[in-house]
């Protein structure tokens, strides 16, 4: 079957493609219905990466935060035609065995599998009329959630993966640096856990006020140092990474753990002297696993959590053609609010 797709072919240039899809054994045919644009999508759109890397990636379909409807099931899995699903963008040849890989610490999760691919990063994403996807790569969701909240499931799974990276946080004082969408979602997830206190740190008071945290601090607030933070999550990324990490190192308690989740394109300086002096542990976390999606789906069944996620929806944008797709990217680039626009795919 021939389907329409959009691919980024050069900075700020999308092209229309007509692709021939074949649903292979153990695959599903899924119609793409909802999506949100991620910061990584914007970097590819703007060409904000090393030119050599971009040349390897283009042309590529963007978007990996997506919801769709199953149109065909070519597998033995109990997934009904018509069922709503969130697409899982991590593609692993065989997650349980680490096929052909000399050494791989499987306990980290399949998102660290050396052969793993990630949709819209090193293989095509989901900016298409329909996709064929392995039956493992979907998480079922309800029709109601599919309209709005489910499109944030990928980000919820990423938040869960970052928590899983350091283990239980029971009774701890936990801080989140960054007042963007991931910071907000991480705050919501942490509030569902048995942590002693959730503290959020950012530079936009109007955004921080919306976080369901136990305490919010403006980045320069001197009182922040009075909190004895056991674990800190960096959700800043980009140009702000360095100053955020500096402040985290300076603020957290001796022996604290720091989890980095923000992506910085440029190498940054880190104050290793202070890390040594305070005996800090630093962990990196990226993407998520199938299991994280399962837990994210369970979290969305909670009404309070679901309502918190729904607050991130700034509006809906219909995508009928490639011009609408350009407009959606420009809208998201200009967006300075806490939240995202949902793209309604009508291709």
């Amino acid at each position: 079957m021939i389907i329409k797709s959009f691919k980024i072919a050069a900075p700020k240039r999308f092209e229309v493609y007509m692709e021939n899809l074949e649903v292979k054994p153990n695959e599903l045919l899924v119609k793409i219905e909802k999506a949100t644009i991620c910061k990584a999508d914007i970097r590819y759109y703007l060409g904000d990466r090393n030119r050599k890397i971009l040349d390897l990636k283009y042309p590529m379909s963007l978007l990996h935060e997506t919801v769709g409807t199953v149109l065909k099931n070519n597998s033995n899995k109990q997934i009904q035609v018509g069922e709503k699903v969130v697409l899982i963008p991590i593609l692993v040849p065989n997650p349980s065995q680490g096929e052909g890989v000399p050494y791989w610490n499987a306990s980290l999760g399949e998102n660290y599998h050396p052969h793993a691919k990630f949709a819209s990063s090193n293989c095509d994403g989901f900016s298409k009329e329909m996709v064929c996807i392995p039956d493992n790569n979907v998480q079922k969701t309800s029709k109601q959630l599919a309209e709005k909240e489910a499109v944030f499931m990928e980000l919820i799974s990423v938040a869960l993966a970052s928590i899983r990276r350091i283990g239980p946080l029971f009774g701890q004082k936990v801080a989140v640096w960054g007042d963007g969408v991931l910071g907000y979602i991480l705050c919501c997830v942490l509030k569902k856990m048995n942590v002693q206190k959730v503290i959020c740190v950012g530079k936009h008071r109007e955004k921080l006020d919306k976080f369901p945290a136990d305490a919010n601090y403006y980045i320069k607030d001197p009182k922040l140092k009075e909190e004895d933070i056991d674990t800190a999550f960096e959700c800043v990324g980009g140009h702000g990474s360095q100053s955020a990490i500096d402040q985290i190192i300076d603020t957290v308690s001796v022996g604290a753990a720091i989890v980095l989740t923000g992506v910085s394109e440029q190498p940054i300086n880190v104050n290793t002297r202070r890390i040594l002096e305070k005996g800090l542990s630093i962990f990196g976390s990226t993407r998520s696993t199938y299991e994280d999606f399962k837990v994210a789906a369970e979290l969305l069944e909670d009404d309070i959590f679901k309502d918190q996620i729904a607050k991130l929806v700034l509006g809906h944008v219909d995508i009928h053609n490639i011009n609408d797709f350009y407009d959606a990217f420009e809208l998201e680039i200009a967006n300075k609010e806490l939240g995202k626009y949902i793209l309604n795919f009508r291709l």
Binding site: S5, K31, E129, R346
Partner: protein, 232 residues
Amino acid sequence: MNIAVILAGGKGLRMKSAETPKQFIDVYGKPIVIHTIEKFDNHPMIDSILVACIPEWIEDLRGMLKKFDIKKVKWIVEGGETRQESVFNAVTKLQSVLGNDDIVLVHDAVRPLITSKIIDDNIEGAINHGAVDTVIPATDTIIRTVDSCTISSVPARNELYLGQTPQSFKYSILKNAHMYSEELKIRDASDDCQLVLQNKQDVYLIAGDKLNFKITTVEDLLLLKAILKLSS
């Protein structure tokens, strides 16, 4: 109920392919008609499909439907000498199955690049208006000539659109249009909207897509293959 009628009754004389009608030409491992049918087969709002097929290719078509795991084709009827006759055969076949308000989408087998959106919009439009035609704005200036040598007139381009398919109707509107045309002995209408208009019924416009073009000539076939090749 929403039924797709796929017109695969053409002999493809303009394609000059002596043995294989254009709708059965293989494009990257699959006949064009199957590429087209798959789009309706996988559309959640389409309940069943009827194919009007060249009589001598019906058995081949049955084999193709099986080979490519097409589920929704319930009827295959013989295509007629004209497009109108093929649709008439389909309308007659569906008489015992469809109610007046059921929707029929009539689509050319040789338009494989149809999108889900066009199907969605046709169904919605036919439900709301009773009769719709898929069109795209004319971007080239259209010239009218009566002698094939000189320009007779140049119609205003902003009033002109190019007709595509599907053309979609409530069943009663399509059936009545064909019955009325039989009475008037109109036998060679190039599309169903003309017949519906003849029967004093408004036909509304649905936005098509430039890529939903008809594979009529060898150049069209080349274009289709090039589009798919570029995307692979």
